[in-house]
């Protein structure tokens, strides 16, 4: 190979690359001219790497929770006899002969320590149990509709415990319980946010559009709700819920309780925007054309700043998730046998429990992860919310 040909080849390549880059960015520029607002927002959002990663992680969390029947190896109430408070099962990659293998576990056995008289868990290394994907189980219905007879992963012998995150006091698999609990914990935010959105935009809209006495009253109410501490009100309201209500009723009641204060912030945003927009020409034009007040507020004014509302809401969801976790942790929220991340953490209230079975704190990692990811997505959305703003 001659030494002269190398640079020329590289130069040609880089020139080609530069031209391709320029054309690509030009094409993108052109597309931006006639892109819809949604495309613009998505374009701006994608630039925010952290937000994009966070969105992906959230999607995974939600998928895994919705499909918990499939993704969790066991049912949340499935108890392993004699496996109370068992530590996480060790997953091995290397066999005793020193060979690399598929991930596998050994059967765990419980023995009583003759000195301390405490139970200890040891591995019985005579037989390997390989963890397989799409392992066959008894037939069940995914999401209560699709008949299916496989789990995402597991051991072919269903009686050998595979406890990724250990087990709780009753010998139930913590990992499976976390996935099922996500169904309540991850979705309570949405319910609460829906109520927040409806209350906030209606009351904020009325307050901003009409002004005067109505505005004054709504503002006073908001002021009280903002200046009053959250937790006492939440505790008091959930204490007032009838004891005989079922999980679903309690769930909706908790959602409402969390939204009691949540709407105030949104109402303020809506009010401020409406006040600045109601004198704009397009609002006056709508009025001149004979549109009613309601119509002007909800079909002309609100859509003009809906993206801000979405940002606000995204940032409100973590607060609701934390609220549910705190209430359930205190024993005032979701009640067993229903599981949420808060009820799972109830088991970890005691310092002695914590010192002996630290894996019971694992659900908290999921709470923190979810909250962080929502904050990142919210930050990304905030930057992308107004794609027409020059930056």
């Amino acid at each position: 190979m001659s030494t002269a040909s190398k640079p020329t080849f590289l130069t040609a390549l880089s020139e080609h690359y530069i031209r391709w880059k320029r054309e690509r960015s030009q094409r993108l520029q052109e597309r931006l001219y006639y892109a819809s607002q949604r495309e613009l927002v998505w374009h701006a959002f994608k630039k925010h790497r952290l937000a994009l990663v966070a969105l992906i992680i959230l999607t995974v969390l939600y998928t895994v929770s919705i499909g918990a029947d499939f993704f969790a190896p066991f049912s949340p109430l499935n108890r392993f006899q004699n496996f109370n408070d068992a530590p996480p099962t060790r997953i091995h990659l290397i066999t005793r002969e020193g060979k690399l293998s598929w991930p596998f576990v050994y059967q765990t056995v419980r023995v009583r320590n003759t000195e301390t008289f405490k139970y200890e868990y040891r591995e019985n290394t005579t037989h390997r149990h390989i963890i397989r994907l799409l392992v066959k189980t008894e037939p069940y219905k995914l999401l209560k509709v699709i008949p299916i007879q496989h789990k995402f992963f597991g051991l072919s012998d269903r009686h050998v415990p595979l406890l990724l995150f250990g087990s709780d006091r009753l010998g139930r698999d913590v990992f499976s319980r976390i996935l099922f609990a996500g169904r309540i914990s991850l979705f309570i935010g949405f319910g609460g946010v829906m109520v927040t959105f409806i209350l906030g935009s209606i009351l904020g809209g009325i307050s901003g559009y009409y002004g005067g006495l109505v505005d004054e009253i709504i503002q006073r109410i908001i002021e009280v709700l903002i200046s009053v501490p959250n937790i006492p009100i939440w505790i008091a309201l959930s204490a007032a819920l009838p004891r005989d209500w079922g999980t679903i009723k309690i769930y909706f009641a908790i959602t409402l309780i969390l939204a009691v204060r949540g709407w105030t912030g949104l109402a303020r945003v809506v009010r401020g925007r409406i006040i600045s927009l109601r004198e704009e020409e397009f609002a006056l034009a709508a009025k001149a054309a004979g549109a009613g007040d309601w119509r002007i507020i909800f079909t002309h004014l609100l859509p003009a700043f809906i993206s801000y509302l979405i940002v606000h809401i995204t940032l409100a969801i973590p607060g609701m998730i934390l609220g549910e976790t705190a209430l359930s942790f205190l024993g005032l929220g979701i009640k067993p046998p229903a599981v949420s991340w808060g009820t799972l953490l109830q088991d970890a209230q005691d310092i002695t429990v914590l010192a002996n079975y630290p894996w019971l704190l694992i659900p908290s990692l999921f709470v923190v992860l979810t909250i962080l990811m929502f904050n990142f997505v919210g930050d990304g959305l905030r930057d992308a919310a107004d794609p027409y703003a020059s930056r």
């Binding site: 200046s227 009053v228 959250n230 007032a240 942790f329 962080l372 904050n375």
Partner: protein, 332 residues
Amino acid sequence: MTALIIRRIILIIPLLFIISIISFIIILLPPGSYVETYVENLERTGFLMDESQIKAIYKQYGLDRPAVVQYILWMSNFLLKGEMGRSFIYQKPVTEVIMERLPMSMAVTLISLAVTWLLAVPIGIYSALRQYSIGDYVATIIGFVGLALPNFLLALALTYLVFAKTGHAVTGLFSIEYKDAPWTVDKLFDLLGNIWLPILVIASAGTASLIRILRATLLDEKNKQYVTTARAKGLPEHKLILKYPVRVAINPLISTIGWTLPLIVSGEIIVSQTLGLETLGPVLLSAAMGEDMFLVGSIVMILSSLTVIGTLISDILLAWIDPRIRFDKVSI
């Protein structure tokens, strides 16, 4: 100044009124009435009541009358005689139960508020002046995690860490041997050895957002011309920063007291429950569990009113410190 104080106080009266209504609604909310639960509880302990006794209780609390009259009775009893009904869990007047715990609650809350500021202001100044330094990144990350980490989890994690490292279990404000002992220097030291952890945890809730606000404003301020002028005149850097931009940047923080205080009161309840502090939090919870609604409603009212009044006092204090607020140039 006097006019400002009077205006603020007048503004707060409707707030307190609405708070008292909300608290009373809470008392009325549960399906069974207070007396029904009360009688049920007595029967459970083997004490049977006859019709006339039950009626007497109804009369005593005015429960046979419409809700509005009940509310007026409850409020006038509170305002005139300082009575707020009877707690059947504690078998004592509600006021007594609350007064036992309230001083400690207030102490913990106020110290936490002070610590929030003591932590947030220096860290905020540091990360604004050394933007993009390692310290700034560390502060940002800690701030983010602090936002995402629920209070009670931080409390659990820290107790676990302290226990694992030193073998000292921080539960409650006093160690067992000092719990009922009279106040001595030793007891005070014991309190100081236990109280720092809950205070730190409670303070962490507000610190993160305060740091972010202070950092953002200070970043805007520090490049303004008046800073450059002062620097050109030869003012030492630390004096310059503290005297001018920081003073301006503290202002937005002042306006956040209105929501930092509720946050701290909320945090105090959960942390007290988790760490077993002898404050109002655990009382509120056990009352809520036992549907002791007079106690629940009263605690909600006291905590909320105190929060609102605390916000008012801090507003006035800060107006006194900052001439711009005093002369109504900046609205809080």
